[in-house]
Subunit: 323 residues, 2 copies
């Protein structure tokens, strides 16, 4: 009944070198006194915390819950706990969460913060610690999970063109993010593929938030020849645009077709329901978690980023142009 023996029993030592009777006696005692090992002591000894940190810029953004759900599922399956950090896109908070890694609170980090400084990524790389980027490409690592934003956006724009649209506008994401840039590129490629001239005044830089969609509509609708379709950088932006249209009396989709990106849960619920590019959020969370686990367990990884497939979900916000 020495502590070391108890430890052996409780950890199901691979080389089952414990006599059955002793084992049973210990198990009984454990049961009887409701003994649960102290995780900090165990962690200290083993140098493992069995926790991973997941950083998101804003949990309330409908993009993230699904992602978190997927990650949690994979991690809890693997015996890891999830420490959730909301960074509010604040560099300071982000730093404080990176400290978690240095202080051994977590064994790895999952960053779903598109706005986070390159600095953070570089520090993580320098430290040589396990981390994975979600929905964000970065040249400093191959551990990220994304969709092909460029191709998906291009496909969506081509769909609009197929409907007969020629005057297609774009509210972009922030152009200092890979995601924002890639989607802008896809938009341009889409136009190009149909020999449609790129017009500067049809592109409004946004920030993935609702307000920027509204702002874009206000701007675009003052143009002498406003667009007949809008490719938004994401659903939130598309939603903001939709609301602005309602406010300004612009009929959607008759006067303006709108496409979003991500297919967050509300897309099917607004009126008109939103045509959008579906991003497999749950899968993205799971794939990221798996990659991180591979890193953690020292398993060989493909050494290449994971690129998930998207799908254009056609709903009611897109129709052929009126004229």
């Amino acid at each position: 009944m020495d502590p070391s023996t108890v430890s052996r029993v409780l950890n199901g030592d691979a080389t089952l070198v414990v006599k059955d009777e002793t084992r049973q006696r210990i198990l009984d005692a454990v049961e009887q006194m409701q003994y649960v090992p102290n995780a900090m002591a165990r962690g200290l000894r083993r140098q493992r915390s069995q926790m991973i940190g997941l950083l998101v810029p804003d949990i309330a953004n409908p993009f993230f819950p699904q992602l978190i759900l997927g990650a949690e599922r994979v991690f809890s399956e693997a015996g890891f706990r999830l420490l959730l950090g909301n960074t509010d896109e604040d560099a300071e908070k982000e730093r404080s969460y990176v400290e978690l890694l240095r202080s051994n609170v977590v064994e790895g980090l999952m960053l779903a913060t598109a706005f986070s400084q390159d600095e953070t990524v570089e520090e993580l790389s320098r430290l040589g610690v396990p981390f994975v980027l979600v929905n964000r490409a970065h040249s400093g690592t191959s551990n990220y999970v994304i969709v092909n934003d460029r191709v998906a956006t291009r496909g969506a724009v081509e769909y609009l063109i197929g409907l007969g649209h020629r005057r297609i506008a774009h509210v972009s994401g922030p152009l200092y993010t890979e995601t924002g840039l890639s989607r802008l590129r896809g938009y341009r490629e889409g136009l190009l593929s149909a020999q449609i001239e790129y017009r500067d005044e049809y592109v409004v830089e946004g920030d993935f938030k609702e307000a920027s969609g509204a702002r874009a509509i206000e701007r675009l609708w003052q143009l002498p020849d406003p667009p007949t379709a809008l490719m938004a950088a994401n659903d939130l932006t598309a939603l903001g645009a939709l609301e602005a249209c309602r406010r300004l009396g612009v009929r959607v989709p008759e006067q303006l077709s709108i496409i979003g990106f991500n297919d967050v849960p509300f897309c099917g619920m607004v009126t008109p329901s939103l045509t959008t590019v579906r991003v497999p959020l749950l899968e993205m969370g799971m794939a990221s978690a798996r990659r991180l686990l591979d890193l953690l367990e020292g398993r060989a990884t493909p050494g290449t980023p994971i690129v998930l497939d998207t799908e254009l979900v056609v709903r009611n916000s897109t129709v052929p142009p009126e004229r």
Copy 2:
């Protein structure tokens, strides 16, 4: 430069008994070698993990992100980290998260799981550990944060009556939850206050999910004299009802007024936008977190539950009955 001295400096020992020069020397060294204390060792020594666990049944449910946001805000402010657990309403998972407390991974638990077994609450009480219930009353503790479901529901029903409705139906929550029961009581009280007879066939037991709203509509619309208004137990249920109405060709609000509960983010975005009872989700998360911190820090608590105010948000899903 003994570890103990370093510890003193780093912990800003209240009785600042460290010579300035030594302090500076240590600070410099810490800076230079990027030293970060090991949290598990510290935790083991101090018997504190500075972490709290937050259990939710389903992060993807729009009710929770705001709640989590509020909690995270308060906790991180107080130097606590948030461990997030998704229980999937699975008793087994719930148990496993309770173990976190026994193994000293977390210092306290915040339970936002309406479906969780009483058993869990009782065990927690028995263990005498700090925990708080969110959006759920329980006789075994005074540490919970709720809204007055009964009164709020009653108010919403009275609003419908004020519009002229007499045939008012209710899709309830699960009747084995306090929340579900209280709202049903509120519904009955509302009818009573206007001398409207309670009709069994107007009440459909649901489970707070979309499908139960749809089921209710299907059932109610077969009645010889269908209701002119529906008080749903929550927004998700109301949404399910709304969709079923669309499917069955029931015009909302003309033929059927609908009221939800919670005011989750999508309420203003559906068509027609949903009249609902606003629950201050962010505040609920923050209040729960604060109460848990009080418990943790051994501060005196009021010893009474916290009841937050609701507000009826009138939108476009409610109008006077057609006839």
